[in-house]
Symmetry: D3
């Protein structure tokens, strides 16, 4: 029995509300149980300087946590004067994951910045940010297409992410904070709508793990992202 009372392969309740931002070209509030992440996509009409005159665009991401999104208050990074290593690692992962399904030629010389701000945290914030970030990006791409600014669709596929871990010898899907703190091995799986891998990261928090354990986690991850992709589809068609 897992701490949350869920079945081993059961996701938390998913909710993806779109259009939550008055200003952003694409936005959603994604909730994975008590983890709530606000995702916005902002379009700029020029690419980063390293892509000038290449005909190609860029998608990047930034990540932040509100100071009291966490159990005890975390120091505000703007006040600390720098982003932590963890923050930078996560926002690099989100950016890579989204770019993996973007046709940067079709996007043309513009940049889309996906901001993922954690309003409330209960484990799995980076995965929720990728899943919700894709929705914001999809909506921004729709707007570019509706306005005729881009012709083909620059977004090639869905991408979604989920964490899996081994807790008390059992493989669990979609760990919340308590489960994550107690898990021996912890992995994040970023997977496309077609079921291909974009990025996997798995770490032994305690004892090292075997290839078989990794495979078990990976198939859980496949199952989880299938459900997330279904939720994305429903959200963007609403």
């Amino acid at each position: 029995m897992r701490p949350s009372g869920r079945a081993l392969d059961q996701l938390r309740t998913i909710s993806i509300e779109t259009g939550v931002s008055l200003h952003a070209e694409g936005s959603c509030l994604i909730k994975m149980g008590n983890t709530h992440v606000l995702c916005t996509a902002s379009i700029e009409d020029k690419p980063p300087s390293f892509l000038r005159n290449t005909g190609m665009g860029w998608v990047t991401a930034e990540y932040g946590m509100l100071p009291r999104s966490t159990h005890t208050r975390s120091r505000r990074e703007a006040a600390a004067g720098k982003q932590s290593g963890r923050t930078q690692e996560i926002q690099r992962l989100i950016g890579r994951s989204l770019r993996a399904v973007v046709d940067r030629q079709a996007l043309g010389e513009r940049q889309i910045t996906v901001d993922c701000d954690v309003i409330q945290a209960d484990g799995g914030t980076r995965c929720a940010a990728i899943t919700g970030g894709w929705v914001a990006l999809r909506l921004a791409m729709n707007r570019l297409m509706q306005k005729g600014i881009v012709t083909g669709d620059p977004l090639l596929d869905h991408v979604a992410a989920i964490s899996c871990g081994i807790y008390a010898g059992q493989p669990l899907l979609d760990l919340d904070y308590d489960e994550d703190s107690a898990a021996g091995t912890d992995g994040n799986f970023v997977i496309t709508g077609k079921g291909k891998l974009v990025e996997i990261q798995a770490s032994a928090e305690g004892a090292p793990f075997s290839t078989d354990e990794l495979l078990t986690l990976m198939s859980l991850g496949m199952k989880g992202t299938e459900l997330l992709v279904a939720a994305q589809k429903q959200a963007v068609s609403a």
Copy 2:
């Protein structure tokens, strides 16, 4: 006729939803029209170092804007590596305003940090932060009292804030972004539940203004904060 179509002395629709944060000791989401600010109050069991062994506590505030809370995306302050002068000015104002109604002796040697994060901006964010910050603080104080950690009530009165300005020669209450951008004179009024002044700031954006104009703005501000105090009362009694 003002740009928003409201009457000269009409507030935007106010909504204050409490208990929006799973983790914070007090929280609310305040909406003044399209301006949305998430306010959380976090209690720490020790005071800042300059108050150690004085028997007194402290209330402080931090302020931030999500990058796409604004019309065009603003640079994330954590990525820029520092808080802007505007951010620091605002968070100092929020802190002073809240401390003006706190009995720091009754609070005892602890610190409450009120975080005000702008989810969506349409003018008047600092005023909404003060009004909503008070609600979060009130709820955190309630918790301290319910747990018997403090005996008397450390919160002496309400405090709320509203902006007023002169637009096309007319005094307006509660300016939204478009009105604020066009106003010649702009003031923020921080006023207690008993109608006393805690802080006023008024600036000539264009031509300097007269004492009479200031008095007109101030009486509008009095009217506005009365309504806000009523909304606070309703929110915390809910």
Copy 3:
């Protein structure tokens, strides 16, 4: 009886010495009693980037305190690696106050930076900086006009500033450090030569204050800035 022994509405001894800097296009050393601020105005022949090709100029201000201008030594901000919130708040106020009397069209595409450096502090440094900063700016504008670089006078009026506060129930003009530390309410009034308001800021340090008290402070402020404007006139005509 106020701590300084002055009458309630009595300014400290004012002295404004002009031309104190070999290099600056305009300069003065202003002394308000023991508060001494060196003000210099530096002209640059190009505007800040946001004004390029607009035909308009800019006036900005920076503020600093020498480490031992204060009772006990303050940390040097250059060594600390950042300007404090207080410093930024003050220099933004000085800039706004001076710009309120500048015709930026008449100035044309150039920038004047007014540096206000506190050599010795005894309360009221931001007000002395505004009053002295105006003198430095006036002298720099004179030079632009004498050289025929600008044709009309870009400086429309005087601007001066003074602090007022309530101490032991009495309204006082021009608080020194000891008076300021003990005052219950404290305000800064930035007023033009024609007696119009440019900026007012008033804060309750202790108990909130009434509209009547604010009006009393404001009329003291009017009186004080009249005397300061007279001192400015004498200084720039010398």
Copy 4:
């Protein structure tokens, strides 16, 4: 045929020279072909503050690249004023990997910092840093045991790391810079002496990859780290 001319599953020439630092408690210069990393382990007799009075120690890592270790000169991070996100990500990975084989209870309340400085870069620097960092750590642990400062061996197993990737449809072991730049999928495998996984990270640089491709890379990684562990054994017994 791979660009380097090596067989698909062939490592570059490995060289691990120990005792290269006069001052460090453990050190080696590891060369994987043209990638050269200097690794030193420094022992401090007190743990980081979060471990005080817990009886447990800590192993941490820092990573840096000399400015001209790269093809074109990179900006010195000390001059830039901060470590890049990539640097922080890598040094966090090195630290986690080493800690996975450390018995922190047996180490006791002390800290070992493993510095990995890239003298020359030709791909795979983070893997070389982990493999060489383990050697420096092993030698520092030996010194603690020889001096009787710790009694049991705090180092439970070997740990080594290698990169693998898919280039032109072929899985390659130990990519050099040219191969890495051209690879479609790229993974790093951190594996213990007993063949258990400590950390895996795999990313699609181009098209997403399949589970089968990941398994192929992982078995190459297993083969590579076996050889690296053999090289570690030889180095520390020399």
Copy 5:
């Protein structure tokens, strides 16, 4: 004929006004022609942490230039967020020079910080800072002795500094800015009241120089510092 019209071995007019700061334990305004430096000495009753429980004290220095002390306005270091390499080099030199004549045992466990702020610059600011810094330090030491806080005199001798250079083949004493800009070789000589060397720094700005040239500069430096020491004596006895 040198640009300034002075004789080759002639100092600029020296003026040292003491007691210029209301707050500092020792202070002076030193003028070497148009170079004006405000020097203050601030006593703290505890030493820096590396001297705790050693019975010894410390003297340190900080240096700054007001933004418009220079011909064209320099960026404020507090706004830039760091002290330049030049600033750090100079303040380290001032600190070393002053410590060379301090008996840190006699000073006891306290720290004196000498702040040297350039009000107006016309060459030779670091030398004026050392010469004036000594005067501020002497006055602060006097106060410690008068109050009986230290018993013996912790200041063992005078120390003063002067620049010399080779201009158009001629050795010059005390270069002003125009002379310094044109000089081929430039040196700073820090010399005690007894005529011993504390620090010399000489650089070829253009062609390298000979030992003989250095000796000529050094004897000019000796002559100059003798005069400066006489001026220090007069200033502190006034």
Copy 6:
């Protein structure tokens, strides 16, 4: 007898290995006894912005110490977020010293950055950096000439540097760390191949020193740099 057992005027064993970097246009590893510095010269095809359209080039230097190059581990400057004053002072000295023998007109509009990274420190690192930095620069200049990018030789002479000091009343050449720590006076002499002075810096660490003592140190320095120049010649002709 000096601590190292060397004769008073005896250098440590010198070794200069060239071509140690795969990527740099010029490089060497210089060893002065246990002090090891890796020097690389990197050519950029455009000058710094202040030299654009002047026809002249620039040579600059950067300096760093690996964290465990020292007896006890030093904090990594990239992690600290800034270069220390000492680092900046040293890299400015290296840059000035090398530029003193460069014909910047002959170099043309390009920049060469000489990076000096201390792999292992045992005193005299800045001198070794200058001596080795010249070798790296010489090799980079050779490459520019061989490729016909520059026509005349932009490097006019050798430059080398050595430290000297007074220890127990005896003048010593080339101090190692233990000798340097105990020396009363300490100087660095930067001297050309023709025996002319480029820069001298001498400081009293304890008692001030006399002109005669300085002259003794200077003649030791002359002797030492002659030997270093011979070693440079051998290294670049190999």
